[in-house]
């Protein structure tokens, strides 16, 4: 146990810090809700790529730097510290890419990886369906296996970033006789196909970031299948393992949010022990997240299986995050409900947006009830519940 950076880590940190200080745009980029914003972020991603920072955790052979999980965490810590722009292609860099690296053929890797790194191609995740949410094995979108490819018909839903996406990695049912985990296939769907119809859904926070995606007679070449036809479940599970390591929901990020919250608290509330206790609670939980994460990253960096805390991160950060934004709303008081243009410019709309997005995090990436099931069953060894309606 030694929390000091070793010379290699230190040199890497200095290099990252120096580059970011010189290159991070001084003005915030336009919002990702607009085409203009997407292009501005794409240009930023290109600069990261040219400097070799697009995906430091990818192997060098695939355009990364082969950094271990600890060095990757150092990169993200610096990125936050420098206030780097939001990453554009999180699902490509974080999920599609690593899945291709683990399980793609060399041809597939050549086809997609470098364009993920440059963000020339943006990705979305087509897992959830109207009838298959927490119970992902309930997928019904059909894939008819023919000589010339796989003909896909069905519907995905809640597909984030699909409006701007060029590709979707998706799970479809290729064996109509099968049920549950068997007979699923993991494949890459080109969003420009005329059979792909993206209909943005207005979210409760009034953004349109997720959508329904209707798939009608979309013919997907067999080259676009990752793994075996019918072997999609295990590929999807490999993808979800990477969901843990997306690198952005770090303790450094939450410390930054806490600092912002603290700056909002007026002088007359600072002596209130209830406010003090809540701030103390938040600080404690962020610190706990920091050391639980560091434990897991250290285990992974040494190629050890993660300990019990490795399965607890999502539950922990998502719940502390909601409590953090809730305190912010409380501080804002009746101003918290004001819409853009009607407030005094001190930021309630941005804060409230973040609050609602924090609420969404309790649902996506494996709802927190599913997280508790996983902890109870896989970590504590309690019996599996029945998963099927009877």
């Amino acid at each position: 146990m030694d929390l000091r950076l070793n010379p290699t880590q230190q040199a890497f940190r200095d290099q990252v810090r120096g580059w970011l200080e010189e290159n991070v745009p001084r003005e915030p980029l336009p919002s990702l809700d607009t085409r203009e914003g997407v292009e501005a972020h794409r240009a930023w991603e290109r600069r990261l790529y040219d400097a070799g920072f697009a995906a430091v955790h990818w192997p060098a052979a695939h355009g990364g730097r082969g950094m271990d999980p600890l060095a990757t965490a150092i990169f993200y810590e610096e990125y936050l510290r420098a206030d780097g722009p939001a990453r554009l292609n999180r699902l490509g860099l974080g999920l599609a890419g690593p899945t291709l690296i683990d399980l793609g053929t060399p041809d597939q890797q050549d086809r997609w990886l470098s364009k993920i790194l440059t963000s020339e191609e943006i990705w979305c995740q087509g897992f959830s369906e109207p009838g298959a949410g927490s119970d992902l094995a309930g997928i019904r979108t059909r894939g008819e296996v023919r000589d010339d490819g796989i003909l896909v018909n069905g519907q995905k839903i809640w597909t984030s970033h699909s409006r701007w996406a060029d590709w979707m990695f998706a799970l479809v049912r290729t064996d109509p006789q099968s049920s549950r985990h068997a007979g699923l296939t993991f494949l890459m769907i080109e969003m420009a196909d005329p059979g792909v119809d993206v209909r943005p859904i207005r979210q409760l926070n009034d953004a349109r970031d997720f959508a329904e995606v209707f798939l009608t007679d979309v013919l997907v070449p067999k080259n676009n299948v990752i793994g075996e036809i019918g072997g999609g479940w295990s590929v999807a599970m490999a993808t979800l393992v990477h969901e843990r390591g997306s690198g952005l929901n770090t303790a450094a990020h939450f410390h930054k949010m806490l600092a912002e919250l603290v700056s909002m608290i007026p002088e007359e509330s600072r002596g209130d022990t209830r406010v003090q206790e809540e701030i103390g609670w938040l600080y404690e939980h962020i610190e706990a997240y920091r050391y639980m994460t560091l434990r897991t990253l250290s285990e992974l960096a040494q190629k050890k299986p993660p300990g019990p805390q490795g399965s607890m991160g999502k539950l922990w950060w998502s719940e502390l995050q909601v409590r953090l934004y809730e305190l912010g709303l409380q501080v804002l008081g009746s101003r918290a409900e004001l819409l853009d243009g009607h407030d005094d410019g001190a930021g309630p709309p941005a804060w409230r947006q973040r609050y609602w997005l924090a609420r969404a995090a309790l649902i996506y990436a494996g709802s927190n009830e599913i997280q508790r099931n996983i902890i109870a069953e896989r970590v504590l060894g309690l019996p599996k519940g029945s998963r099927r309606a009877v």
Partner: protein
């Protein structure tokens, strides 16, 4: 940067676990209860034999000269197995404090004895001087304000008081502090003493909470109702999951607090508060889940559960409750004049 146990640390933890698994069974603990706290026999010496009391005693006094992280690992096992002796006070608080202050004669008198398992040193951080194992201790470290005193047994009168957990052996002291008992009049020394107590008690409490969770997992896997083991009911699974998550959080914070105690003195003070607060929370949540999930049997004197429920309750409030620590940390963060804590 690496935040994981080394092979040596993991091996040391195994040796403590193995020894306590054999020597400190629930039946042994019950015998100590029945004897009103007396009679943990030669456990103290056995612990010294594997290097627990001497872990942070410098080598020049015969100690192991090891780290506070190893010691925290041992303390977690001590909580897990319900060891009734004041190990945290002697091995962590007294050994660390005496290694850093006091004159040579004081160090020569106490450090080798602590290392050898021949001295028990307890602790009083505030008034009233209600001290664990007060009447049995060979000396008590006393913090009053910025002063740290070492009070040998013959300088005080200790009146035992009855408590729900007789193994705590609390006693109320009457004594005079003067120049002859003074070790240091230095706020930094006094604060470090308090920090040591918080860090070490967090470690023991993590062990107690983990034991409560493990006992409860065992129980819900064997007890059947409605034709199935009760551990298959999701309401119970989620309660245990919540307790287990808090235990792991507190454990990570405690490892860090112990590391900081040795390596990052400026951060250690806050790390200790945060760890103790998290451990108190884990203890309370584990306690609530454990008793509830055991049903009626858990409410009996005969079942071992209450031995850990009561130890946990005592430790939750000793050396500062979760509320105390959170308010202190929050007040510091909200103080515009104070430098930032971390992040």
């Amino acid at each position: 940067m690496l935040f994981d146990l080394s092979d040596d640390q993991a091996e040391f933890r195994e040796s403590v676990r193995g020894m306590l698994g054999r020597q400190m069974t629930p039946a042994t603990l019950r015998a100590v209860w029945d004897a009103d706290g007396a009679g943990s026999g030669d456990l103290w010496r056995r612990l010294a034999g594997i290097g627990v009391q001497g872990m942070v005693v410098p080598e020049e006094y015969g100690g192991v000269g090891g780290s506070h992280v190893e010691l925290a690992l041992a303390l977690e096992e001590i909580g897990y197995h319900g060891v009734p002796d004041p190990v945290l006070e002697t091995a962590f608080v007294a050994a660390s404090t005496l290694a850093q202050c006091g004159d040579q004669t004081v160090r020569d008198r106490w450090l080798p004895a602590i290392n050898a398992g021949e001295a028990v040193v307890s602790l009083s951080l505030d008034k009233p001087a209600l001290v664990v194992h007060g009447a049995q201790a060979d000396a008590v470290l006393v913090r009053r304000g910025t002063q740290t005193h070492l009070l040998p047994a013959d300088r005080a009168v200790w009146r035992p008081v009855a408590t729900q957990d007789p193994t705590r052996r609390l006693a109320l002291g009457e004594f005079q502090l003067d120049d002859s008992t003074l070790l240091a009049d230095d706020a930094a020394v006094a604060d470090r003493l308090t920090t040591a107590a918080r860090t070490a008690s967090a470690a023991v409490l993590v062990g107690v909470a983990r034991r409560l969770v493990d006992m409860t997992i065992g129980y819900v896997l064997s007890r059947e109702q409605f034709g199935q083991v009760i551990g298959s009911f999701q309401a119970l699974k989620h309660r245990l999951a919540d307790a287990a998550v808090l235990v792991e959080a507190a454990r990570s914070l405690t490892w860090y607090a112990a590391y900081a105690f040795g390596h990052e003195p400026a951060a250690a003070r806050w790390a200790a508060r945060v760890a103790k607060s998290a451990a108190s929370d884990a203890g309370a949540t584990a306690s609530a889940a454990a008793l509830q999930l055991h049903g009626g049997i858990g409410f009996t004197w005969e079942h071992d559960l209450h031995l850990w429920l009561k130890r946990g309750q005592a430790l939750q409030h000793a050396y500062g409750s979760a509320t105390d620590h959170r308010v202190a940390v929050g007040a510091r963060i909200l103080d515009r004049d104070a430098p930032a804590l971390a992040g």
